[in-house]
């Protein structure tokens, strides 16, 4: 171990993350009473003892340390506050375990991992349990009271069964099971009646097994469901072990419990014998998926059951095919004919494929590259004698071992076993390397394993860039340049995400610089909005040509700015303005008015009033709206529109009178149609009056009148009219209209009065040629 600790481990709070994870130490905490001035130190180390970070602890009394599944450090304080730090002791966030915990203080705490994530269990000073099964989605659960519990339980553990988290606790000789609603007394099957009071308990890594230690030195081992006993053992040591953990391999029948006392380590299992080791130093046990890690000041060891493949090969005088193959290969290298003998022996039993697989599998369990190599060499040698042995497993193992050896290097310090590595998956391993800021190694691994760019290299580069923007000692330009240099146009890189991170670190200028590298302007918009660069966001949205994006920004602006500023901003962005207008036209007509008002757009205001006049039912309302329009048109210096609208008001009023006088619908007719209807109904005087009042041009009036008269069949009136004065439209129309109404007799009357150049046409029409 590199760490060179001066303190004894027992004087520190220790937490080590599973899967070869980092170690956290809180030193001096025990000595606090002696010299209150000295602050405790919080250190994090890699599994090989390399110091990752060290900070003086400034917050309250820490009861328990623990690591989350994503390798964040949890510091559970006496007052129930949980502080979360990352690997490098940088504070991330904190949360509280609730008021009840705050009042009664934390007596003990445990961090546990289930399929829901990382959880925290707390035993309070009032001997009550509080649970949170997932700290990322915090839901506090207060467990029911244990009846008659006066003192803290001697030991307790968190179990996870059928997706429910429960607490098992021991008080004296009694075991209690606490679930969400109830508390029940349980007795493990096959428990010796004279076993005595429980002192220690241990749950296996997968929550399947449970071990109980009593004050008579008796150990009960069984299923965590308490339905079956696996075995028992009498250690005849009466003091409780400092730590007790399970040591077992997935899918193995050999289950064992490891117990550590101050200077003694004992492994017990389904056997009357036990294995004992002497501990030279204070040690700390870390349960793992397939074994136990043992930490001490100077060493870091791994205790595990030897896997079957390794046993078969390395057992003394083993005749297993793998062992023979390994031997054959060694002889072959010595150029001895014995190689052939060994090989024949395997081949005769037709076990060569098994032999090769065995060697490959065993290589995975080895930590020494030399042993790995010799096993792989043997496998490769054996492969030559098999037709069509699928190469994938061999290649895969070589790659995996290459990766594992790289990360086991003490500089990196992630001592994963092959089994753990497979369980963890390469993606998670890469994440962990990224967490440790080992970007080059992560990228090498991606390249070595030929992971796809988007999954592999780009993702890591993006993480690197996000880390890079946090380096405050470099100028914005330098950082932006460095990032662009390295990332270039790598596919799958989102500059906007990196920029978002830069903004979160309080570097908005850098964020904007980074955004400029973002090729898709649409991607820039959300962050710009967040950074309150709304105007820039608006122009970027418009640039992107995505109207939906423009709408998003516009609505954002609408809520963010006051109305005046909002309108002003829009005025400078015609594209956005038109979009917003379109929206208002359908959805918020009143806003439309305000919009025009702001801009002093009297013409549009006038149009707006005209529009709204249509929706007015009553004539007064309509006239009112039109009058508003007239005012606006005058302001807009649009005399024509004002005049036309005034005429319309005049016409409306008149039509109402006509409607009352003649009891006929006149409203909404055009002037032409109004006059025409009047003539059709024989109100010639009224028509005449309108003709004068509205200054209807002569030509129109004549067209209109002869048309109406002809339709009415009032030929007499027509003749009178034709003689009233000289027709401004000539007399051909008279002929045409009469012909149209099949009155050739009347038509003939007018033909001679037609202008000479059209007279021929007129005569043709009446048929007098």
């Amino acid at each position: 171990m590199e760490w060179g600790l001066r303190e004894e481990l027992r004087d520190c709070l220790v937490a080590a993350a599973p899967y070869g994870g980092p170690i956290a130490l809180l030193r001096n905490c025990a000595r606090r009473e002696k010299s209150p001035g000295a602050r405790p130190l919080l250190d994090t180390f890699s599994a090989s003892g390399l110091l990752l970070a060290s900070i003086p602890w400034k917050s309250g009394q820490v009861v328990q340390l623990g690591w989350t599944a994503s390798e964040d450090l949890l510091c559970i304080q006496e007052d129930g506050t949980v502080l979360i730090y990352n690997l490098f002791c940088e504070f991330k966030r904190h949360f509280s375990m609730g008021n009840e915990v705050l009042q009664n203080h934390v007596l003990e705490a445990k961090v546990f991992h289930t399929e829901y994530g990382t959880g925290v269990a707390i035993l309070t000073g009032a001997h009550r349990f509080s649970l949170a099964t997932n700290i990322d989605d915090l839901k506090l659960r207060r467990m029911p009271e244990v009846p008659g519990l006066q003192k803290p339980p001697s030991c307790w553990a968190v179990l996870s069964q059928d997706r429910v988290t429960i607490v098992l606790l021991a008080v004296g000789q009694d075991l209690y099971l606490l679930d969400n609603t109830s508390c029940s007394v349980v007795t493990p099957p096959g428990m010796s009646p004279s076993a005595g009071a429980y002192l220690q308990m241990a749950v296996s890594f997968n929550y399947r097994c449970l071990a109980l230690f009593t004050d008579t030195g008796y150990i009960w081992m069984g299923l965590a469901t308490l339905k079956e006993k696996l075995c028992e053992f009498n250690s005849s040591i009466r003091s409780p072990p400092k730590q007790m953990v399970w040591c077992m391999r997935p899918r193995s029948r050999q289950r064992a419990v490891v117990m550590a006392w101050d200077r003694q380590l004992m492994v017990v299992g389904n056997s009357t014998e036990c294995i004992q080791f002497v501990l030279d130093e204070d040690s700390y046990l870390v349960p793992e998926l397939d074994g136990v890690r043992i930490l001490s000041r100077t060493s870091h060891e791994f205790l595990h059951e030897i896997p079957e493949a390794s046993q078969e090969i390395f057992k003394i005088a083993s005749m297993a095919p793998g062992a023979l193959l390994l031997e054959a290969q060694k002889e072959y290298e010595k150029e001895s004919q014995k190689a052939d003998e060994y090989l024949r022996e395997i081949k005769d039993q037709k076990l060569l494929p098994e032999a090769v697989s065995q060697c490959i599998e065993a290589a995975g369990y080895e930590h020494e590259p030399e042993t790995q190599k010799s096993l792989l060499r043997a496998a490769s040698f054996g492969k030559c004698f098999i037709d069509k042995f699928p190469p994938e497993s061999f290649v895969r193992m070589c790659q995996d071992l290459r990766v594992l050896n790289a990360i086991r290097d003490y500089q990196i310090g992630i001592p994963l076993t092959f089994t753990q590595y497979k369980r963890l998956t390469i993606e998670v391993l890469l994440d962990r390397l990224v967490l440790r800021r080992l970007y080059p190694l992560a990228i090498r691994i991606c390249e070595y394993l030929r992971l796809s760019e988007i999954q592999g290299v780009s993702r890591i580069l993006a993480h690197w860039a996000c880390y890079k923007v946090q380096q405050k000692d470099k100028s914005d330009e330098e950082v932006a340049y460095a990032i662009n240099q390295k990332l270039g146009d790598t596919p799958g890189i989102s500059y906007s995400e990196i920029a978002a991170r830069a903004y979160d670190c309080g570097r908005p200028e850098l964020a904007i610089k980074l955004l400029e590298y973002e090729p898709r302007s649409g991607e820039q918009v959300p962050l710009l909005l967040k950074m309150k660069r709304s105007k820039l966001a608006l122009s970027k949205a418009i640039e992107s040509g995505d109207t939906d994006l423009v709408y998003t920004v516009v609505l954002h602006l609408k809520n963010e700015l006051n109305r005046g500023t909002f309108f002003m901003t829009l005025q400078n962005q015609p594209v956005a303005l038109s979009l917003y207008r379109q929206f208002c036209k359908h959805q918020e007509r009143e806003t439309l008015k305000d919009l025009y008002n702001q801009d002093d757009n009297h013409q549009e205001l006038g149009n707006f009033h005209v529009h709204s006049s249509y929706s007015e039912k009553r004539i007064e309302g309509r006239v009112g709206a039109l009058q508003n329009a007239v005012d606006e048109y005058y302001k807009a210096k649009n005399e024509f529109a004002a005049k036309a609208t005034e005429d319309q008001i005049k016409l409306l009023r008149l039509q109402r009178h006509l409607q009352e006088d003649f009891d006929k619908p006149y409203l909404d007719l055009s002037l032409h149609d109004t006059v025409s209807t009047l003539i059709l109904d024989g109100h010639h005087k009224k028509a005449e009056q309108l003709y004068r009042d509205f200054k209807i041009p002569d030509k129109r009036y004549w067209w209109l009148k002869i048309n109406a008269l002809a339709t009415r069949g009032d030929w007499e009136e027509m003749e009178k009219f034709s003689k009233s004065k000289k027709s401004p439209i000539g007399y051909l129309p008279f002929v045409e209209i009469a012909v149209k109404h099949h009155n050739r007799y009347e038509a003939k009357k007018y033909a001679p009065r037609v202008m000479p150049e059209q007279r021929v046409k007129a005569f043709i029409l009446v048929g007098c040629v």
């Binding site: 040509g545 359908h586 959805q587 249509y614 024509f640 036309a644």
Partner: protein, 615 residues
């Protein structure tokens, strides 16, 4: 007309796959809401839907079909599915249904399928109405409807008003996506030309989409090599002229809807209407659609004589020949016979309508407007047209044509024509005039402002882009059309030496009786000929357009079919006359034009889009 045609015109690509893609996606989307359901369809999606899917497909676990309309729906199903355009109005309709159900304590499942895409504004409305959580949304990317072997329509008539009048850019994304789809199926397009701000935006957005997706267009054999994008506002004149080719006249008279037309009783000479699909499959129609109307009758009568002759062959046949005839030819002949009689009926009906409205006079007036003489006389013609209440849309069209060819009306005419119009057709058109002014179709000549002064102002604004006021500035100042100068520069009015033979056309001007070559088509011709805009600088200055021309990396040899296939994209609509003119050009030059348009349009539709009604 076939005499000058070249024989090496490439065949158009097969666009059937577009229909299949859309149909399959729709079925998939409907299946996303398992179980029985009622389907509500937006009215203007009905016809396009009809073209790609038959009712049996729509009945995919669908109990009843409803039309989305203002009436509240009485559906009893527990699942409602809405197939709609992304419009605020429709969102309110849906929200009302959902809210009504909530009030009565009824719980149902609602699903909205937006075509061609969803807009944020729609979700916003749903949210404001408090139903966002109650509905699920999906997109049916039905961007392209192949109407014919060479016409693809996006069926977005509102594009014109939204973009050119309201300055609403939301459809640009849809166009870009449509281009992306076409490019992936029939491209890669190696050369792109375009004119207009919208064209440029669409093009750029499409390029961005292509870069993002990085599809593997390599190695595929392109079927379409060139693409030309054009904004409708580059050339309003052509769209405003009375159409003279048969297809255009049918459209103007009967309104072709989604590639089919309803011929009423006056055409069918029976008491019911017949719906006829007008496309290249119609043997009669495909031969006359591009013809000038004056030669259609002659053709039809020739055709009927031929048909009669074929029928007459029966005489003197022996039994075996007769059997052959009946089994093989008779059906085709009968079909042709039926179509022939329909088209003859349509012709008669068109003739009748046109003569009634003094069609000749109107054409004369139009032609003098285009040529720029006897303006006074034309103005009085328009005045009379208004006074006699011939047709509000037609009157408006003539006024706009006058304004745009004359670079705006003089103040006196501007006022008096507008007053006349309001008196004739109702005061609500005051708002219509405002719209027309904004879009630059009906403007007033600024007193004392010469052409050059306007230009300098416009060009100043163009460089002053950063001010961002550009859209508004363009809207009000709009495009001084400079029509007269452009027409001179490009020689749009053919010099007449003798009678123009409409049966044997010499150039694209035949679509307007030889009086005017459509500007839009002329620009396309010139640019394709020069492979760029070189030499057209003066025209561009007058057009005031944003032009571009880009060559892709992989330029194939010009001899290839794909290089002689041009996708002509009309943003804001394309008329039948323009299509006829370009088809003519294609036959002359040995190239094939494929038309992609936001909608097939006509002068009537343009005017209606601008008109404000009391609704």
């Amino acid at each position: 007309m076939a005499s000058t045609a070249r024989r090496d015109v490439p065949e158009p690509p097969d666009f059937g796959i577009l229909k299949r893609l859309a149909r399959d996606q729709l079925i998939y989307l409907l299946e996303q809401l398992p179980g029985r359901k009622d389907l509500f369809i937006e009215a203007d999606l009905m016809s396009p839907l009809d073209r790609i899917a038959n009712v049996s497909i729509l009945k995919h676990e669908v109990d009843k079909l409803y039309k989305v309309e203002s009436r509240p729906a009485l559906s009893t199903s527990d699942q409602l599915c809405f197939l709609v355009r992304p419009r605020v109005k429709t969102m309110k309709y849906i929200a009302d249904i959902v809210n009504a159900d909530k009030m009565s304590g009824r719980s149902r499942k609602y699903k909205i399928i937006f075509s061609p895409q969803k807009f944020y504004a729609c979700e916003m409305v749903l949210e404001e109405e408090g139903v966002f959580g109650d509905v699920t949304c999906d997109e049916w990317s039905f961007y392209l409807l192949p109407l014919d072997e060479d016409i693809i329509s996006m069926e977005l008539p509102e594009f014109f008003r939204d973009y050119f009048l309201e300055g609403d850019h939301r459809w640009i994304n849809s166009v870009a996506r449509a281009l992306q789809l076409l490019n992936s199926l029939y491209g890669p397009f190696s050369r792109a030309y375009g004119i207009g701000r919208c064209a440029k935006m669409c093009y750029e957005l499409w390029r961005e989409l292509e870069e993002e997706s990085e599809g593997d267009s390599q190695g595929r054999k392109p079927e379409i090599g060139n693409i030309f994008l054009m904004d409708r506002d580059t050339d309003y004149v052509t769209a405003l002229c009375s159409q003279m080719v048969y297809e255009g006249l049918v459209d103007d008279t009967f309104r072709i809807k989604c590639g089919s037309v309803d011929f009423g009783p006056e055409v069918t000479s029976s008491d019911k209407s017949i719906k006829v699909l007008l496309n290249a499959q119609d043997k009669v129609f495909s031969q006359i659609r591009n013809e000038h109307f004056s030669s259609v009758f002659g053709f039809l009568s020739q055709k009927s004589r031929n048909l009669q002759a074929q029928y007459d062959r029966r005489r003197g046949m022996d039994i075996k020949q007769m059997k052959n005839f009946v089994s093989q030819e008779l059906k085709g002949l009968k079909q042709e016979h039926r179509l022939l009689s329909l088209h003859i009926g349509a012709c008669e009906s068109i003739m009748k309508k046109k003569t009634k409205q003094d069609f000749q006079e109107m054409i004369k007036a139009e032609h003098s407007l285009l040529e720029g003489f006897d303006i006074r006389e034309s103005t009085s013609f328009i005045e009379e047209h208004i006074d006699r209440q011939v047709s509000p849309i037609e009157s408006l069209r003539l006024m706009c044509l006058l304004s745009i060819t004359e670079n705006g009306l003089n103040p006196k005419d501007y006022r008096s024509l507008k007053t006349q119009y309001l008196q004739s057709y109702g005061p609500e058109h005051l708002l219509t005039f405002h719209n027309l002014k904004r879009i630059g179709l009906l403007t007033e000549q600024a007193a004392g402002e010469t052409l050059t002064a306007v230009e300098s102002r416009v060009s100043k604004l163009v460089t002053d882009r950063a001010a961002g006021k550009i859209t508004d500035a363009f809207n009000s100042l709009a495009r001084k059309s400079n029509f007269r100068a452009i027409s001179k520069k490009l020689g749009l009015i053919p010099r007449l030496d003798g009678e123009y033979d409409l049966k044997m056309p010499r150039d694209m001007a035949y679509v307007f009786s030889g009086a005017y070559t459509p500007l839009s088509c002329k620009i396309i011709e010139q640019v394709l000929e020069r492979r760029g805009w070189q030499g057209l600088e003066e025209v561009l200055r007058l057009l005031n357009g944003t032009e571009f021309s880009e060559a892709g990396a992989a330029e194939a040899s010009p001899g290839r079919d794909s290089q002689r296939t041009v996708l002509a994209v009309f943003l804001g609509g394309c008329t039948c006359s323009e299509m006829a003119a370009l088809r003519f050009l294609g036959r002359e030059r040995g190239c094939r034009f494929i038309f992609l348009t936001t909608a097939v349009t006509s002068s009537g539709r343009l005017m209606e889009a601008m008109a404000e009604t009391r609704a």
